[in-house]
Every structure is written in C-alpha cells, then in structure tokens.
Subunit: 339 residues, 2 copies
Amino acid sequence: MLHVAEAARVSVATVSALINGTATVSPELSQRIEQAIRDIGYKRNAIARSLKMGTTRTIGLTVPHITNPFFTDVVSVIQQAFDRAGYAVMLCCTDEDLNTQDDQIRLLLDRMVDGLIVARVGDGAILKGIVESANVPVVLLDRVCEGVDTDTVVLDNQRAVFDAITYLIDLGHRRIGYITGTFDISPMHDRMAGYREALQAAGLPVENELVRFGNFHEVDGYNATMQLLSLHDRPSAIFSANNPMVIGTMKAIRDIGLSCPQDISVACFDDFPWSDVFQPQLTTVSQPVQAIGEQTANLLLDRLAGNRDAPPRKLTLKGRLMIRNSCRPLGAVAQSVSA
Amino acid sequence: MLHVAEAARVSVATVSALINGTATVSPELSQRIEQAIRDIGYKRNAIARSLKMGTTRTIGLTVPHITNPFFTDVVSVIQQAFDRAGYAVMLCCTDEDLNTQDDQIRLLLDRMVDGLIVARVGDGAILKGIVESANVPVVLLDRVCEGVDTDTVVLDNQRAVFDAITYLIDLGHRRIGYITGTFDISPMHDRMAGYREALQAAGLPVENELVRFGNFHEVDGYNATMQLLSLHDRPSAIFSANNPMVIGTMKAIRDIGLSCPQDISVACFDDFPWSDVFQPQLTTVSQPVQAIGEQTANLLLDRLAGNRDAPPRKLTLKGRLMIRNSCRPLGAVAQSVSA
DNA sequence: AAAGGGCGGTGAAACGTTTCGAAAAATGAC
DNA sequence: GTCATTTTTCGAAACGTTTCACCGCCCTTT
C-alpha cells in the first residue's frame, strides 16, 4: 500500500479510504490510485488488516470425522454459507479424540477466528473452559454440551430412534440388537433413550446383551455385529446408531453367511445418497443436513453480525424415517403390517 | 505480551525470547514470566506473529466438491498430515466453477496462506496467472494444468480406464457406453483416452452415440444413462468416469426397469467404502487415496520446509481395478473368461 | 470581506508480535 | 583490581494496515 501511495503521489490514508470506501476521494486521485494499484498488482494484506481490525473473517469448524457422510454434507453446506458471506472456513477433524479437539480449538483461537462451530467430542468441561475464556461466539453442532450455554443445533435424536425402533416392533421384531457409540456425546445418549423408550412402550424388556458399544468406526460395527449374531438367541433386527458402523454390520452379516433382510433386518441412523439404489436398500433415519448446516451457519452469522447479547438459542430439528427394504415383517404380524 | 512483560517486570523482548526459545533467559526471569503468563492467561496472537514473520502456518486447499467421496478421503488425509505438522487448513469448495475457484484462491492468498493445494477446475490460464504472481508454493492435486509448471500428484487415468474397459471387452462386451465429465480437466481427458485406446486395441469402433457428457453430478449421470439406454442398439455395459454420476446411472437403470448386472453391466471410476457390501457390488477403479493425500501433503511440506528451488516434481500413481459383480460375461466368451 | 461549514486530503499512532544492535551484567584471565 | 569476553537483557524499529485528529481549500452566508 505504501508503494501504491508513492506511485500515486498520495498518502496511504487516502489509498485506504478509497479501497474501503470509508471516505470520499476525488476523481483525479481515485484514478491515479487505481492505476497504481493495477500497475503494481497490489493486493491488500488481510493479515495486517486483521491485526488492526481485530477480525479475521475466518471461522473455525471442528468435526469428528469428515469421512462420515453426515458431517461431509453438513460441512459442505456450512462452507457454502460462509463462502457466500465472505468468510473463510478453517476445517479441523478431531477424530473423536479429546486432546486433538482441545489442541485444534486452541489453534483456531490463536489464529483469532471470529467464530467457532464445533461438533464436540468427549467431556464438556474442557470445552467449557476454552469457550468461556475465548470471547468469540461458539455454535454447537449436532451435540449439546452440559454446562456450555451457547447456540446449539441438534436433532431430536430420541424421537427419531423411537420411531425407528417402533417401526421394527410393529414389523414383529422382538429382539432388536442396538449398536451405539460411547455415551459421552449427547446424540448417542439420546438415541439410546429412544431405543429404551420404544421397547418399554411396547412392553418389551431392555436386554443388556442386545446393546453393544463401538467407537463410531466401521470396524466397531463389524465387531459388535459379530457379537450380536453369535448370541445364543440372536436378534432378528439390528439398529446401528451411526452411519460408518452400519457398513461394518453389513460386512459382518455377509461374512457370517447370513443375508439382509431375509435372515436379519437392519436399520441405522443417517441416510446415504445411494441408499435407495443398492440392495438391500437400507431403512434409515435421515437427518435434514441442509437445514442443519444452514441453521448452524445462520446462528453464527447472526452473532458475527453483532447480535452478541441475545440469549443462547437452541434449535432442535426432526429426523425422518426412510422406510426401504432392509427390514422384513416377522411372523404373523407381517400380513397386517404390510397390508 | 505487554501485560505479561509488565507483570513480570521484564521487557517484551525477553518474554518473546522465552516463549520462542530464541535466546537463553535466566531461571529467575523465566519463572517470573511463566507465572505472569499463567496469571494473565496469556495466549500469543498468531495474527500479529504472522504479520511480522510473514508466515501464517496455514495452507489453502480447494477441491471441486467435498461430497465426492474421493475428495472427502483425500481432504481427510491431507488435513491429518498438516495437522501433525502444526499447520491449519483452510478448505474451499469450488463447486466445479471457475469464478468461484478464482475468488477462493484470491481469498486464500489475501490471507497469506503459506502454500496452496488445488484440485483445479476449468481453464488453466487464470490459475496460471494467479499462481505465478503469488510467491507461495502450489501443489496441483488430481488434475494437471497445462502451462502451470509446479508440483503435481495425479493418477495414471488413461491406463486405469484402459484396464477397466479392456476388462469389459474381455467379458464379451462390444458396445460400451461411456459417461464423462467435461474435458477441461485433465482426468476426464485422459480417462476418455483410455476408453478410446482400449476399444482401438480390441479393433472396436469408437462410436459417438455411446459417449455422453455430464457435469459430474448424480443428475448428469442419470440423464446420460437414460439417453444411452434409449438408444436403438443400446450398450451392454456402461462405464461412468466419476463416482457421483454412477449413482445416477444406477437410478436410471432401476427407473427404466432394468437390472444390473443381468441386463446391463456397470463399472465406474473411484471406489466407495461400501462397494463390496451392497448389491450389485460395483466394479470400480480404485484410487490410492491415502497415498495421494500423503504425497500431496509431503510435496507441499517439503517446499514449506525451505526446498523452494527444486524443479517441479510430478508424481503419477497407479489405480487398481476392483473386480466385483456388477459386470457379467456376455455370450459365448463368458465361459472362457470366467474359467 | 470575514466568518462558518463542508469536503478532500494527510501525518502519525496503533494493533501485537519479532529481531537486531546495543547496553548491562556476569564471568574469567591476568 | 582491571580489562576482555561472554552472557543476559532491553529499547526500538518494523511488519501493513486502519483510523482519528487536524489542516487547507473552496463555497456559502452574513
């Protein structure tokens, strides 16, 4: 900018005024400056600007895994929204690891991001500390966090799983295997509650042997399914609480020589783009990813626009059960249901 | 830092020296400073540091679509690699749009990223200009760019498609439909060349009506397939040059009342994590995403480590044909091939 | 003709670091 | 005890912006 000012024989203040439109600059000078900018190929240094202005027009976004299609889609929507608003997005993947998450959030805050969207991982205590000491707005995505009172966008997980399990019960299933991630994140907790609630509403027992834990990955779904299928009295249906794990479930069913839905019914959380093309077409709980991404972005953009003091807003969206052909009616009930 | 210096009764220079370890600081002062840092909760301002140092420890990464599983995986690997090296990653999705790409690259350069990884889109001319005027290292990912002489990581696309088409020919297919994206990016060009080469090697004609263009999206694959299937003499196999489009192909086949592989064989570029679990199990060209991501990251990290003057390096990796059950042997040849 | 009011332009301070040369202190050699 | 040498500490400039107070100038108005 100094060079531009010299070339145009004006002061840097005038160049700044013209570039930012913060003051009127006479036509002659404007022209000289614009010419100089072109000649020199001047680009404003956003770092220096950020230092002075205290704003980077960058937000931080942390998700557990970008390869989980749910997060992929949400990240994509969020990225687009901030792109439109002239913000850059720094993406971090925490790999469901608490320390990684802490490091990355600190990294983002050091870089003075203007806002933070986090699909948190692990215990809320540390996150709470970090979030409170930083004075940037934070939006929690997909996962609420006890004690952290800030804008949040989540799904009504309990209801969604309740509907899915109730559907299986209506089909005649009585022993329904359930594969969950660890309970330290709210969706897993709430989804489990939906499972419980549905069984209890139907007067069925909640049997511990039918509930298996995994660490969100395909291999965990595989192992959990193997365990479920080798039970003495094996379940007739399996619900997987997330998307990567259900791939493992399908592989385990295949490897053990069974087939879905003939021998075992399968449903899961999170829809896939290809779920109604390949066989079996999985029955899933579909999250409104577009809406989730947009609402999340809007909450943060609203804070960034200056609305700092409004009380925390919590948005709860509804999932939708996508019924396909991976669950079959069982026994006598079959007729009445499929009719 | 000023506050820390005052609280510890030292100069800011000493604080800086201690934090960065750039000079030895006596034990007493060290202790006073560390205490002050804790008391105040001081965090170094990375923006001010960047301004002074001329380095942001941030890289920019632009890809066409993050929802394309190939890019999702590669982005994930790259993100991890830079995370380990202490760099942040700014992610941009260009949506296969040239103007968006230009804007985003400019945005990234304004923010003084230390390096750039771009899976380019559209014509290379503008990119070339941008890349040359910026003095940051650039690595081209997945797509070479005429006239831009810089580090590049690509697949041997022609060979990979040659192998795939040859496989179909060996199965007895003679009329093989081919769905491609636009030729302004090198992979589409090279893959088409592989298709041509395979047909010619087998003495088969390259028929224009069997080649359809799409814009990389599912809907394009759907439309292209619809056209292919309504040809008077319809193809017995279809190869889709990217991953999202093959979903459209499968939907079109279903909607038209045909089934794969009984009525029509299908193969495509890019593997899916679930491709060997659901039916039909697609025969695909699998890219070594882990290697691609790592090599790309390594090339850039090497430049960032100071190796600026080495001549441009071009890495070409090999794809692998994953033969599954979505392509069936045709006619008399079937016996000899499957034997 | 003098005073008041816009308007266009500018100099310089500030943002929070790093770094360099110099000052100050400590150490060692005689 | 003095001088030379090494070690530790510091002041101040610099990075590239924005912004604020101020200064002329010209146009009105009285």
